[in-house]
Amino acid sequence: MIKAENLLKRVPMAGSELEILKGINLEIKSGESAAIVGASGSGKSTLLGLLAGLDEPSEGRVVIGDTDLSQLDEDGRALFRGKHIGFVFQSFQLLPALTALENVMLPLELNGQPDAREQAEHFLQRVELTDRMTHYPRQMSGGEQQRVAIARAFAARPDILFADEPTGNLDTRTGSHIVEVLFELNREQGATLVLVTHDQGLAELCERRLLLDAGQLVSG
């Protein structure tokens, strides 16, 4: 379960402070899928960053399972992310110097999994990229790169998967295919799915929709 209590995020802006999130409280149950929606600048990505432990709130706390993320330092959160969290990003975030296979192996190697290569090959097979394993990101289309990113996210068998605009950089057809793959793998693994999206169709596939407006949760 993910629990956010009174989350506040302020950033310094030319002598004053800008409040991006203004006291968010929410709970997302294990295995649930939730879409964070809202207009540009409403604070969706900031909320995702805080829930995933990529950033620290100015006030309030995020608890995942029994772990209070605000009690952990950056290294503690990194270890927690490595064990429990997977990511899919709008801009794919593959390492350009690594092949598709190496990119998928990376989190497994970071976790010290001895069968990193076999696992990575298995997941690349699942996203139908068997013949692209030795290719570099620049040699692949946007849809293929996102499938590598999905394989990388699921290969570490995370408890929670965070996705930031996973179809944002893709055309409608490729986007739909990516969404299919994402939801299919998520169902198989029973992970909690939290995604940020502008895409109404994608949001409706989730069990819950959390609507943000000017840094406040207005529904969900």
Partner: protein, 824 residues
């Protein structure tokens, strides 16, 4: 972490991220180890060379015969030895002809270092001799053949013994360049001394025992020997034996050390720039890894071990390159080297490795260490500031490292200070100038055409980054200019010091009535000569009425000593007045001008009184001036100069020096027949030796300069690369919006050329200041401004930086904009 450093390095290598970093590291190690090995080997060669001037490694000299037991002890210790005895004696040929010669008797092994040379006829082709004359034979000076009217195969007598003349004696390694008692040489075997019967107790003779062996054995032997040396027995080592190559080589060494230090600084800057760019490009990499669970510790370990691995590989390659550099040089010049250089040992490579480690720790690690602090939030927000910005701490570490490396390498604070001063001037002036000018450009730029507007806008948008870049470019150009300036003035000075017509022969003992004839004979053969200087032999007896001790102990500064003096109404050419004033012409007062070193040794200055004995007549003179002069000029030089009228009543002979080409040696034969009493000293062999060494060292300097230019270019490449990403991105957007190739390339060219212009100007100012400090403080040379350096500095700065900049960004016009935008 299971992802190994090797795999990451391999991936980065494939991605082209490591090129400049690796090249800079290899270059740093190569420059340091190469130059260090080179100077070590050159020093060993020169030391051997200087041993040749002693004909041994150590010599004991005395006016009395020394115990043969010392030679026995040397032999027991595995040290080679020989004996020589030098004494003046009349040499006779038949009833009529006789001449006072300087006889030297030598044992079988002589010389222990270097070689004797002889010729089969007087002034003939010079040949190396394996050993000296056999018992019963002599080699005689070329001019003695004419003076005694003998030929090879004839007989001459020294004292009671007759000898067969078998060759003309040409040079001995330990032939003294001093003119004291210089008579034509007769070389004979040591075993023949007794038969001549001329060496009696009290004779004016000089015995020498010569020793040569490994340095360790010699040190022990000398320790044993020193306890046994009497008052009149002096031990000589290399330092006393070497003629005037000294300061040229000292300066060459300073230059090489300077070059090495600059190489280290340049490579350090290149490493820092490359590491910074590497770190900036890895920020996203680390953010992704951290979002996937990597801790800052594991990131540090990964990059730390990668860097270490990189360091090991680059050090190995750098040592190899350094070894190759010096080996290639010595290979190329092996035939011209008078002696074979010894091995350099491991020290240069240890220094190279230590340099690599220092560069990695102080220049490369600080930006990489901060990678561990990169925020994982960058995976969501790429506009987050990177953590690679340099802190004051990084600059302090870098500066300390540069200072320590330069000092460790040159062991010279003045040299370190001169370069640091130049760098400091570049940094301060550079930042002020660049920021002011780059801001000022806006007013001018707005009304200019579009290429100019584009370029000026680019310059201003990255104002601070550009100012930093100007400083880095200026530093690199400045260091190169410093080296170029010092090298040029060094080589110029050597060439001026030893021009092709350097006097290579001296004439002594010219009687007053012969002066005109000698002068005419030189003129009739069109032989350029120095002025004819009168010369009188005097003995210094007292200082300020205090009588001086008569002793053979040359280490004692205040003692009676003999010198050749001259007279002149004017300050001799090439002399410089350090204190006091030159006398009025025609003064008859007993005044004297003293050479600075002579005055220092005696502890006298202007106003002090010196007492002399000329023949048997006393003369007391007051010091009116102290002069400095160049002892290495191969021109007549004198410790003491008097007013002509003060010496009018004393008998004088005259001397001069002149240049004789190799093919004109026959002149000496006819000259000696005309002026049999004039002594001719041949210095051409020594001068050729000096010139050959200077040529080799000059070539070494050119080679080192080329290597340092490579290091400087690397800094320029690293500096340009540092800003290429941002410029490429903007240019790609401009192209996507329809900008023409010429507009983009023109804009980039002007932008980089403007940076080059500022950098060139700045570098030239700082280089001139640095060179001034270096030449006046460190290298003991006179400074003169070099106007040519301004167009060179500024022109090269603009051309190099504009060229490199446009070359690095060329892909922006050759690749489709969409590919570039996706990539960047």
């Amino acid at each position: 972490m299971s992802m190994t450093a090797t795999r990451m390095l391999a991936r980065d290598w494939r991605g082209g991220e490591l090129g400049v970093l690796v090249a800079a590291l290899i270059l740093a190690v190569a420059v340091v180890s190469g130059i260090s090995a080179f100077t070590t080997r050159l020093q060993s060669a020169l030391e051997q060379e200087s041993h040749r001037f002693l004909a041994a490694d150590r010599v004991v000299r005395s006016g009395f015969e020394m115990p043969d037991a010392w030679l026995g002890e040397a032999e027991a210790r595995g040290i080679a030895s020989a004996k020589t005895l030098t004494f003046p004696s009349m040499v006779f040929a038949g009833e009529e002809n006789m001449f006072l010669a300087s006889v030297k008797a030598v044992t079988e092994g002589y010389p222990l270092r270097g070689a004797l040379t002889y010729s089969e006829k007087p002034f003939g082709q010079v040949l190396p001799g394996e050993r000296g004359p056999a018992p019963g034979e002599v080699w005689i000076d070329s001019r003695l053949f004419a003076l005694l009217d003998v030929e090879v195969g004839d007989s001459v007598a020294v004292g009671d013994a007759d000898f067969t003349v078998v060759a003309a004696a040409r040079t001995e390694p330990d032939q003294s360049a001093s003119f004291m008692g210089y008579g034509p040489r007769v070389l004979m075997h040591y075993d023949d001394i007794a038969a001549t019967g001329v060496v009696q107790p009290g004779s004016r003779v000089e015995f020498r025992q010569l020793y040569a062996g490994s340095e360790g054995e010699l040190t022990n032997f000398v320790e044993w020997l020193e306890g046994r040396l009497g008052d009149n027995q002096n031990l000589l080592d290399v330092n006393q034996g070497q003629p005037g190559i000294g300061s040229a080589l000292d300066r060459a060494e300073s230059f090489l050390l300077l070059a090495g230090s600059l190489g280290v600084v340049l490579a350090g800057v290149a490493i820092a720039l490359a590491a910074r760019r590497f770190s900036e490009r890895h920020n996203d990499y680390v953010a992704i890894m951290k979002s996937l669970g990597a801790t800052s510790g594991s990131v540090n370990r990964l990059y730390g071990s990668s860097l270490l691995l990189l360091g090991v590989v680059a050090t190995a390659l750098g040592c190899l390159a350094g070894w190759g550099m010096q080996a290639a040089f010595f290979g190329l010049f092996a035939e011209q080297m008078p002696v074979q250089p010894g091995p350099s040992g491991l020290r240069p490579y240890i220094i190279g490795s230590a340099t690599a480690l220092t560069c990695l720790l102080c220049f490369a690690w600080p930006p990489l260490r901060r990678l561990g602090l990169a925020s994982p939030l960058r995976v969501l927000r790429r506009d987050m500031p990177t953590e690679a910005r340099r802190t004051l701490g990084d600059y302090a570490i870098g500066l300390t490292a540069v200072t320590l490396l330069m000092w460790a390498y040159s062991q010279n604070w003045k040299l370190t200070f001169a370069v640091l001063a130049g760098l400091a001037i570049t940094v301060v002036l550079g930042l002020v100038l660049a920021l002011t000018l780059l801001r000022g450009g806006r007013l001018v730029g707005m009304s200019a055409g579009s290429i100019w507007r584009l370029a000026l806008a680019g310059l201003q948008r990255r104002g601070t980054a550009n100012a930093l870049q100007v400083v880095i470019f200026a530093m690199a150009i400045m260091l190169l200019l410093v080296l170029l300036l010092v090298r040029t003035s060094l080589i110029d000075e050597w060439q001026t010091q030893l021009p092709p017509d350097t006097p290579n022969h001296f004439m002594l003992n010219i009687a007053p009535e012969e002066v005109q004839g000698v002068d005419q004979m030189l003129r009739s053969q069109s032989i350029a000569s120095e002025a004819l200087y009168p010369m009188i032999r005097v003995r210094l007896m007292s200082v300020n009425d205090e009588a001086l001790e008569r002793t053979d102990d040359r280490s004692q500064p205040r003692r009676q000593r003999e010198s050749n003096i001259t007279w002149s109404d004017t300050l001799p050419a090439g002399n410089e007045l350090l204190a006091g004033e030159w006398w009025a012409p025609d003064t008859a007062e007993p005044l004297v001008s003293v050479e600075a070193e002579y005055a220092e040794r005696l502890g006298v200055t202007v106003g002090d009184k010196l007492g002399f004995l000329i023949g048997s007549e006393p003369l007391e003179a007051t010091i009116t001036s102290v002069r400095s002069l160049d002892w290495q000029s191969f021109k007549p030089n004198f410790w003491l100069v008097f007013p002509p009228r003060a010496l009018a009543s004393y008998p004088a002979t005259f001397m001069t020096s002149f240049h004789l080409g190799e093919g004109d040696k026959g002149f000496l034969n006819s000259f000696i027949r005309n002026f049999p009493t004039v002594t001719v000293v041949e210095m051409d062999v020594v001068i050729e030796q000096v010139r050959s060494i200077v040529d080799q060292v000059s070539a070494a300097i050119e080679l080192v300069l080329a290597v340092i230019i490579a290091a400087g270019s690397l800094v320029l490449v690293a500096g340009v690369q540092a800003s290429v990403d941002a410029r490429m991105h903007e240019s790609a957007i401009l192209r996507a919006l329809g900008a023409r190739r010429s507009l983009i390339l023109g804009g980039l060219f002007i932008e980089f050329a403007a940076l080059g212009l500022f950098a060139g100007l700045l570098a030239t100012v700082a280089a001139e200041i640095s060179v001034y400090i270096l030449q006046t403080w460190v290298m003991d040379m006179s400074y003169s401004p070099s106007p040519w350096v301004w167009p060179v500095g500024v022109g090269a700065g603009m051309a190099l930086i504009a060229g490199l900049g446009v070359f690095s960004c060329r892909r922006v016009v050759s690749s489709p904009p969409v590919a570039l935008l996706r990539e960047l």
